[in-house]
Symmetry: C2
Subunit: 522 residues, 2 copies
Amino acid sequence: MTLQGTSIIGNENGSGNESPIHGINPASGEILQPPYPSATEDEIKRACKLAGDAFDTTSKLSGKDRAAFLRKTADNIEGIVEDLVLRATAETGLPEPRIRMETGRTCGQLRLFAGLVEEGSWVDARIDQANPERQPIPKPDTRSMLRPVGPVVVFCASNFPLAFSVAGGDTASAFAAGCPVIVKAHHAHPGTAELVGQAVRHAVRECGLPEGTFSLIYGSGRTVGAQLVQHPVVKAVGFTGSRAGGRALFNLASARPEPIPVYAEMSSVNPIFILPEALAERGEEIATGLHGSSIMGVGQFCTNPGIVLTQASESAKNFASSFTEKMSGTGAATMLHSGIRDAYEKGVEAHEGIASVLTLTRHNEEAGPGQCSVGTAVFSTTAEEFLAHPELTNEIFGPASLLVQYTDHGQALDVAKKLEGQLTATIFGTDDELAKNKELIAVLESKAGRLIFNQFPTGVEVCHSMVHGGPYPATTDGRSTSVGTGAILRFSRPVCYQNFPQGSLPDEIKDGNPLGINRTEN
Amino acid sequence: MTLQGTSIIGNENGSGNESPIHGINPASGEILQPPYPSATEDEIKRACKLAGDAFDTTSKLSGKDRAAFLRKTADNIEGIVEDLVLRATAETGLPEPRIRMETGRTCGQLRLFAGLVEEGSWVDARIDQANPERQPIPKPDTRSMLRPVGPVVVFCASNFPLAFSVAGGDTASAFAAGCPVIVKAHHAHPGTAELVGQAVRHAVRECGLPEGTFSLIYGSGRTVGAQLVQHPVVKAVGFTGSRAGGRALFNLASARPEPIPVYAEMSSVNPIFILPEALAERGEEIATGLHGSSIMGVGQFCTNPGIVLTQASESAKNFASSFTEKMSGTGAATMLHSGIRDAYEKGVEAHEGIASVLTLTRHNEEAGPGQCSVGTAVFSTTAEEFLAHPELTNEIFGPASLLVQYTDHGQALDVAKKLEGQLTATIFGTDDELAKNKELIAVLESKAGRLIFNQFPTGVEVCHSMVHGGPYPATTDGRSTSVGTGAILRFSRPVCYQNFPQGSLPDEIKDGNPLGINRTEN
C-alpha cells in the first residue's frame, strides 16, 4: 500500500502542509518518508462536522450491522499485516513477532466487540411494565437501555502502535457502542497509523456507512488535540499516554461549556508485594519472573512492575541480588522514540539523585548516533525512606525497578496506603498468607483496578472481566476499563422510554424480546 | 424529638457557632428555632476522617447487612413522620399530604435499594476461567465485580426536603453501594434535615456500623460545601440544585489533584412537542393535563414542563387560549424560599423584557409581608424568535411556561436540535405521528435522559428502568441516573481479581455462585 502522508477526513485526504512530522527509526535515527503535515483547523472542523452527521446513522445501526463493520475492519487490517510489519517495526523499533502478535490482538479485540454487540445483552435493557390500577397514581410503562454518547476522539498511544492506536481498544469499543470516531495519530508511528486508517476507511465504505464514521488527524496534541477535545460535537475522549498530557486534555474537557468525559490512562507503578513465606519458598523463581516482566517490551508497558516490596530478611537480600544480577545482565535495548528515552533517563537520574536510594545496577551502554537505546536500572531503599520521598512513587516508564524493604506488616500497610491510584497491584504469597492479609487486599483494592495473585501484571487479557483502569492518576476516570468488553460502557449512556408504543421502541426493549437478549423485567 | 441545632459529626454533635442560619416559614416569614451554626473546618475534617475510617467497614459489608441498614433507616424515618410533617410543612410551605407522600417515597427508595443489594446481581459479576493450555500464552483466571468508590458527599435539594435530601436517592444509592455519606444540609430546611439525620444516626448505631458511616453538615455551599468536595478522602459528589451551584462544585472537583466525579442535577426546561393530529384531536385534554403538570408543586419540579411546542394552526390557538385561561385562573402559591421566589421573578421579568415574546398571562397578586408567594406566567413566541434568542432556553424554576409555535416539521427539528441537554423530552401525538417522527425522536434522544409519549414529565417513577439524568446542563454527567436502582452505578467502580484462590475472593465471584446472583460466566 502506498502511503499518502495526509490526514484522513472522511472520504477526503487532508491538504495541510504545516509542521510536517516524519516517522523516525529509533534503532537507527533514519528519517522515514512520507512527511505527515498537521491537519488544518478547517480540516478538524470538517472531521467533527462529518462525525456529527454520521452519528445520525451509526447510532441507529443494529448490533448486527455494527458487528459486520467491526469484522470488516479486522479483516482489512489482517489483509495488510505484511505492510504493518515492515512499517511498524521501522517506526517503533518493536520486533516483528510483537507487531504480528499485536495485529492479532487488535483484530481479536474488534471481533470480540463484534460478538458482544451482535449478541446484544450489553445494553442493560430494563423493563418496568405499566400498572394503570396502582393507587394513588397509575404506574407508567418505562423501559431503558444504553445508547451511544456521540462522536468520540481517540488519541493513539505510543507504546501500542496497533492495539491502543487507530483501531485499538478505544476505537473498537466506541464503534461497537455506535459512535463515530476521530483518531489523533501519534507522532511516533504516523505511517502505521495511516495504514490502519486506510483499512478502517475501506471498511466504512464497504459497509456503506457515512464517511464521517471515521477520520484520522495528524498534528500535535497541544494544538490539533486541543481543538478536537474542545469541539462541541465531540462527546467523549479516550487517551493513553503521559500524566501531563492526559491531565491537560482532562482539564480542557472539564472547562468546556458542556464538559465531557475523558478516559485518560496515564501513570502507574504497579506495586508488587512479595510476602515473607513466598519469598523464602521461591524467591529465585519470583526474581526470574519479575525480571521477565520488567524488561518485557523494554519496560514500555503501562503495567510494568515499577515498585517491589519485600520484608527485610536474608531471603529479601538474596532476592534483590538475584534480580539485580538478571537485570544487570540484560543488554541495552531500543525504546520507542527519543521522547520516551529522554524521560526514562531523567527518571533514572532523579532516583540516583536521592541520597537514601541505593543504585544496585545502572546499565549504561554507549548508544550509537540516533539510537534510542537504554539499559536497565535497579534501585533499593527502605520503606521509611520511601514514605519520606513521595517523588519515589513517580513512574519511570522503562526497564527500571525500585526495591523497597519494609520492617514489618504494619509498615507494608503504611506503604500501601501511601500509594496513588494504580492500574494493578500484585501480591505474591502462599494461599495462607493471602488469607491472613485481608487488610492489605482491602487497601490495594481501593488503589487499583486489578488485583493479581502470584502472577505478573504485564500481559493484559482481553476478556469480559478485565479491568484495565484504576483510580487517579492511573486514569482520570476509575469507573471504567479501557481493555475488555466493559470498555463499551465508556461510550454509552442510559435512555428511558416512557409510555412508548411498541412500534416506536428499539427492538432491545420491545415486548416479547425479539432479539432474545438478557433483560431485567419487572 | 427535640432539635439540637447542630451538625452531626459521627457520634458527636457539632459545636460551631459561626454564621447560624434559621429555617424560615415561606408562607409567613416566621423565623423557626433553633439556629443552625455552620460546621467548623475541624468538624468537616473530622467528618471526612471518620468517613474514610468507616469505609474500611462499610465496603466489606455483605449485601444483607447493607440491606438491613437501609431498612432500619427507612423504619426510623417512618417512626418520626408526624415530626417531619410538622417541621417540613413549616420550613418549606409544602402541604401536609405532599410531605407524607414524600416520606413514603423516601422510605420506598431506601427499601428498593435494600432489595437490590440483598439480591446482589447489581455488581455485574464477570468470570473468565483460566486456560493453562492456551497457546501461545496461558489464559489467566480473571473475575470482576463492582465495588464502592469511597466516601460520598451529598448536597440536599431545596425542592425535595426528604426524597432528594438527607436520606434521599443519592444517600440511599451510596449506602447501598457500600459508601459512607456526608450530607450537606440545605439552608431552607435545616430542621427537617436534622430530624432525618438523627434517624439515620440511630440506624447506624442500631446496626453496629462505624460512626463515620454518616455525618450531617450545616453551612454554606461556598465554604463548607467547597471544603467537603475538596477533601482528599471524598471520592464522589451528588448534588441537586442550581446550574451555577452545580457547575461550581464540578469545577472544584475537576481541579482537585485527584479529580472526582460530580453528579449534579441542575437545569432542564423539559420540552413538550405536541404534534398536529394529537393537537387537533385532543388539544383541550392536553391543555388540562399540561396545566396540572405546570403548577404541580408550584412548578418546583426538575421535570416541570417549561417549553411547549405546537405547529401554528387554529388548534394551536385554541390550545394556547385554553391553557392560558387555566394558568391565569390559578391562584398565587407559596414557593420554597425567598431565593427561589426571587429567581423566579427575575426569570419571568427577563422573558417579559424580550419584545418578540408575548405575555399571555402574568398573575401578579400582592404577597403579604414575608410571604414567598408567586403567580403563574405564560409566554408565547414563534420558533424563529425562539431560535434567535438563546436566553429563552433558560430554565425559569416555577409555574411559568413558554409556548412556541413552529411553522412546519423542519422548523420543529431545528428547535429540537438547538435545545441544550434535558432531563426529559415529551412528544404528544397519535401512534401514527410518532412512527413518522423517527428523526425527532433521534434528536430528542441525544438531548434527554427520558423520552415520554403522551404523558407528562412530572412524577418520576422510582424503578429499575428510570433515567433521571441527561446531557449537560441537565446534569454534569449524562452517563447516569439519580432516580431508580441504576443510581447505584454512580458510586461503584469495577475491580478485577486475577488468579485469586477461592477463599480470598468475594462471594459474588466465587465458583459455584454461593449467592445465586446473575453473572456473566465464560
